[in-house]
Amino acid sequence: MSDTPETPRTPPANLPAANSPNQPDLSEVAGGPRAVWGQPSRQLDDWLAIEPGGTITVYSGKVELGTGVRTALAQIVAEELDVSLARIRMVMGETGRTPNEGYTAGSKTIETGGMTLRRAAATARQVLLEMAAAELGVTPDALTVEDGVITAPDQPGMRVTYAGLMAGGRFECLISDTAPLKRPEQYHLVGTAAPRFDLPAKFTGQPAFVHDLRLPGMLHARMVRPPRLGTTLVSLDEGSVRDAGVVRLGNFVAVVARQEVAAIRAARDLRVTWSEEPTLPPMETLYESLRHEPTTDRVVTASGDADAALQRAATQLTGTYTIPFQAHASIGPSCAVASFDDETVTVWCSTQGVYPLRGALADLLQMPEEQVRVIHMEGAGGYGHNGTDDVAADAAILARELRQSVRVQWSRADEFDGEPKAPAMVIALRGGLDGQGAISGWTFEGWSPSHGNRPRQAGDLIAGRLMGVAEPPPRQFLLGGDRNAPTDYALPDQRVTLHWLAREPLRFSSMRSLGAFGNTFANESFMDELAAAAGADPLAFRLRYLDDPRARAVVEAAAHRAGWDEPLPDGVGRGLAFARYENTEAYVATVAEVAVDTATGAVRVLRLVVAHDCGQIINPDGVRNQIEGNAIQSLSRALKEEVRFTPQGITSLDWDTYPILTFSEIPEIVVELLDRPDQPPLGAGEPATVTTAPAVANAIYAASGARLRAIPFTPARVKAALEAR
């Protein structure tokens, strides 16, 4: 859900960006927009087909990740074509069959894929109306459409259908950018809470996930992994397992059996030893060591003279914030099925990008891309680049080696160990206040690697590394570490700098909102620290620096809905945070209500109020569902989540060692949607992830005076912060 290209964006007028990594020459950088968004065809027939029975088949290069986009995209097409939702059949994410739309990521499915489909459907409607007009001998504007049936109200009895007009034929034209689109006031499907197509099967136990795919004669495999990438196989005793075969390719080791339980037992029993080197650096000094690594330094944005403004400030504040490695922690460990027929490897998996993965698999298999097929099937929610691409590679290698269909199911420990993590980050802020309590100077320094490591070549995949392919050099394309590093506030004298790290101790890649999770935590906590130092109300203090009416509207809506000025009992506090996602996308404000037990340091979040403006809303219930999910998942990340490791490897390998939020800890979630039907739709898959942690940290401060600058806010950290008051 999280890989977006650094789209060249215009900085706010008052902030001339100096040497901004937001504006690289994308044509020079491998993995620019082409890799991220693909180069989809403009041929209308590649996007939709009118079947003889009246069904509309829609081909989307996007995939369903559990967010409901299968239904939302269908709503968009059905709306423009004036057909019922029941007529739409979605075909999504299959190489050679659907358009190449790169990744389903960055909350861009509706914004990009959806808008292409809207144009495609509008083009189809225009062509069909012209055909109907010719057939009926009227002008197109004399026609009306209802569920694919075209009539001329002035000519009773005259009717043709989409299916009849097409007669199984093709459009043979390009998608038009000028075909008329419906106006929002004409919508009857877009903007409604259409129930999701996929849920009835999932609520009754029908096969729905890649985990449920069974091919005839399929073998079951389990992986046997080294404790750390880079360690090598010292010994392997094939005689230590029964009823299972062992596949070994360098350090790539799998056990394969007809019966799944036999593979599970063999993976447990296989006697195998690995080299002791290399080891991981100690976790205790992680943040300190990140700040001393070599970096590529870029000024993200700068205006005025931050240093001079800080020097003349009456008060100066500093705050250093840390974000640990975190796991996507899908509830279903990654699974893939692969087959080998006619010199073609076919892989069914829940990747976020079937075409980019095909390229990486072709490199791994040393086969031409035409002989590799990748077909998306749903997995458990992924929230970014988790283990699904790696398990697809495992299955592809095994199917080719064994020349048979193979199902690979990662264990819970395989998933926690193998999935690329959200990288650790450090952010140091400095700000000044003048004698009137106004901000005088603001500097942001962030340490982060690029968050974009989705596989493009064999060495990006665990299987490739284990088979001896060298680790590729760090990506030149710097992604995500600077996301929301600039605030959305009008600060006259400021400088935002990113120290881009080349490496971190654990393998990392994209996780929901990328660096915006950590950067917004830092910025919005620090705004609160400045407000407190200025003796100002945190709400009023923020509004002083917000010019954009849509920004002010979400902040005011959240505060109003939360009863910002209403008194609270002792030990309970309210905290506010605001961001415009990516500084250019949806607006979100969160108010957290939190109780702090000063004896134990335990934090209980009572309520989260989220106000959200993502432009035009396609499916309000789908958007609410995303916002609720973002709020709860990011609360879990804020309160509990940290991937732990020792020199011997990752030790967060199950739900006891990587606990997430449970039902007893779920607060009341209140969602306030600000619909803007006249504005373009903006993604809703990530924005509400970024404001939770700072809202909770600010609420903890309001409740107890303890300032939390390190995620997660464990009771031990809260106690330490209470003692430091």
Binding site: A208, S330, A380, D621, I666
Partner: protein, 163 residues
């Protein structure tokens, strides 16, 4: 002696060895899809089924210990094409995102509402605490419990006011 289990009303003789976890018998021998592998450690609840009227995890439960048991899976909650009230409530509330956890959630709630027709909020949360959801659908799931309660037993307050 072969192990015999009754699943969704049908008796099956199990070919697997007695120490095989029930999950793999249900999925691979009986071809069911509802109980899902999530952790293999009895920590997440994705693999739950009803054993009698109890929701149990199946990823570590040896099939030999379920000899003679009556097992109902999510598939078996549908009767004559009609959804179980908890399934209907999940649809009404659209109580999922990826829905990988839905199986465990639904069977756990079905058992809860059978034993405790009108649970307190705390009883609901306690019953669901060992069912993990990563997408953050908890608020919807909690609403679905209340809706299912009404579908199953009627509205307690309404009944009281009618008396």
């Amino acid at each position: 002696m072969a192990i015999t289990i009754t699943v969704n009303g049908k008796r099956h003789e199990v070919a697997a060895s007695p120490d095989t976890p029930l999950l793999y018998v249900l999925r691979n021998e009986l071809g069911l899809s509802a109980p899902l592998y999530g952790c293999g450690l009895e920590q997440c609840g994705a693999c739950k089924v009803l054993r009698g009227a109890e929701a149990v995890t199946t990823c570590m439960l040896p099939v030999g210990e379920t000899d003679g048991a009556q097992i109902t899976t999510l598939e078996g909650l549908v009767e004559d094409g009609e959804l179980h009230p908890v399934q209907q409530a999940f649809l009404d509330e659209q109580a999922a995102q990826c829905a990988y956890c839905s199986n465990g959630m639904i069977v756990t709630i079905a058992a809860l509402l059978w034993h405790t027709p009108h649970p307190t909020d705390e009883q609901i949360r306690t019953a669901l605490n060992d069912n993990l959801c990563r997408c953050g659908s908890h608020a919807r799931i909690l609403r679905a419990v209340r809706r299912a309660e009404v579908l199953m037993w009627g509205d307690e307050e309404e009944e009281a006011s009618n008396e």
